[in-house]
């Protein structure tokens, strides 16, 4: 059967993608950030996942205001990087895993999470920047990826609680898949940042680090945090952090299994307007 071996959490700031694409990673501004991912790149190469289930949010690229799905699973065989206005990022296309994605969709919907199934969509920096941070600049991404888009553009985003429980349902779906696949689940976005209005530039280092602590030690309690706390403490775009709870809910320790191992933890301010947080949690 398929199993989840680890979860990865990372911010997905567009400027990080631009820094990689334009060869700026060694510049003094960027170097401390990329150094925080050196371990992660080596780790991913050793782990050799068969599939990555990648939770991210679309930033008005695949989804305009015409259709706003709260949870959307990408079931296509291939996904192309979107032109977000600066031209598409020069990164490989994402190869999907339609069979596992369809299996997960069917299982999770029967578990009361009404996903939108997307057979055609472009993917944006929310998905490609985490891949770039974890893989560098390969000719092809290391394995098939299932894009899972969460609406955090139009308020309200799904609650932390809903995301956490969805993670559990995704885990159940993956574990009932009849092939011995090593699956990783990634939660992306955040940490504190605000991109709009006179309060733009808000960063809350203390709150972010408390969030990381609680995500590791008390995700169930953390999942009860109301939206307004994210907005007030972590900025209007800090609400992206609810997506981390999807990945966290899929781990062994909160589903009757063994305690997890914190393999890596990193925090850095700033990347452009944003605080960057990163965790690797392994099942045992």
């Amino acid at each position: 059967m398929a199993h989840i071996s680890a979860s990865v959490y990372t911010s997905h700031v567009p400027a990080v993608g631009a820094a990689i694409d334009l060869g700026k990673t060694a510049e003094p501004y960027w170097q401390p950030l990329f150094e925080g991912y050196e371990f992660s790149k080596r780790w991913l190469k050793e782990q050799k996942p068969d599939v990555i289930f990648l939770v991210y949010n679309d930033h008005a690229n695949a989804f305009s205001l015409d259709i706003i799905p709260t949870f959307a699973i990408g079931t296509a065989p291939e996904f192309t990087p979107a032109d977000e206005g600066w031209g598409p990022r020069p990164v490989p296309n994402v190869i999907g895993h339609p069979k596992l994605a369809a299996h997960i969709a069917q299982s999770v919907i029967q578990d009361d999470f009404d996903l939108t199934i997307v057979n055609k969509m472009d993917i944006d920096h929310g998905l490609t920047v985490p891949l770039s941070l974890m893989c560098g600049q390969p000719q092809a991404w290391p394995c098939p990826i299932i894009p899972f888009a969460v609406n955090v553009v139009q308020y309200p985003a799904p609650s932390g609680r809903r995301c956490y429980l969805l993670g559990k349902a995704i885990r159940k779906a993956i574990e009932s898949y009849d092939e011995p696949l090593n699956v990783e689940i990634w939660g992306t976005g955040g940490m504190s940042h605000q991109l709009q209005g006179p309060r733009a530039g808000l960063i809350n280092r203390e709150w972010d680090n408390a969030f990381l602590d609680r995500l590791i030690a008390d995700p169930e309690g953390l999942s009860a945090m109301p939206h307004i706390d994210y907005v007030r403490e972590a900025g209007s775009e800090g609400i992206e952090l609810v997506m981390w709870l999807i990945a966290r809910g899929a781990m062994d320790d909160v589903n009757g299994g063994k305690p997890l191992t914190v393999r890596h933890r990193f925090y850095h301010v700033p990347a452009s307007n944003t605080a960057v947080g990163h965790l690797i949690l392994e099942n045992n």
Binding site: P14, A15, A18, Y29, H59, A60, N61, S64, L65, D66, A82, D83, E84, G85, W86, G87, V153, Q154, Y155, P156, S192, Q194, L195, Q196, G197, P198, R199, A200, G201, L202, I203, N204, R205, W207, H227, I228, V231, R232, E233, S236, E237, V269, P270, S272, N273, A275
Partner: protein, 129 residues
């Protein structure tokens, strides 16, 4: 019973909820059109004419022409959509975000490098620092 909107008292912040989304539908959809290179070129060639193809309010059009992002947001714009205008202008997200704060580009960049805007005094409207 009315909806609970506890985010209305966060200073300098507009939450893009269903009400704002309805107000800004055409403004945001105009922004989406700038994802195509040919539309970016057409917009740059004659901004007013391009905007007139959209059923936006005159206030929205003026706010776009003036690149007044705070005003755009007040009129229903969402920053992820408005970012396409900045992209068309060759601006970075940091330049766009900074433009809404009343700070110069350099001041804003320095603030971010020094750890960003503090949350202290920025949680509630009228709160004392």
């Amino acid at each position: 019973m009315s909806l609970d909107k506890p985010y209305k008292d966060v200073p300098g912040t507009t939450i893009f909820d269903a009400e704002m989304s309805r107000l800004g539908y055409h403004l945001n959809q105009f922004c989406m059109s700038l994802m195509k290179a040919e539309n970016r070129a057409r917009f740059k060639a004659n901004e007013r004419a391009y905007l007139d193809e959209w059923p936006m309010s005159e206030e929205q059009k003026q706010a776009v022409l003036a690149r007044d992002l705070n005003r755009c947001i007040e009129l229903g714009g969402n920053i992820y959509f408005l970012a396409k205008i900045g992209a068309t202008d060759g601006k970075s997200f940091q330049q766009m975000a900074g433009s809404m704060t009343g700070m110069s580009e350099e001041e804003y960049r320095n603030m971010m490098v020094s750890g960003g805007r503090s949350v202290e005094g920025n949680r509630y409207i009228g709160e004392k620092k």
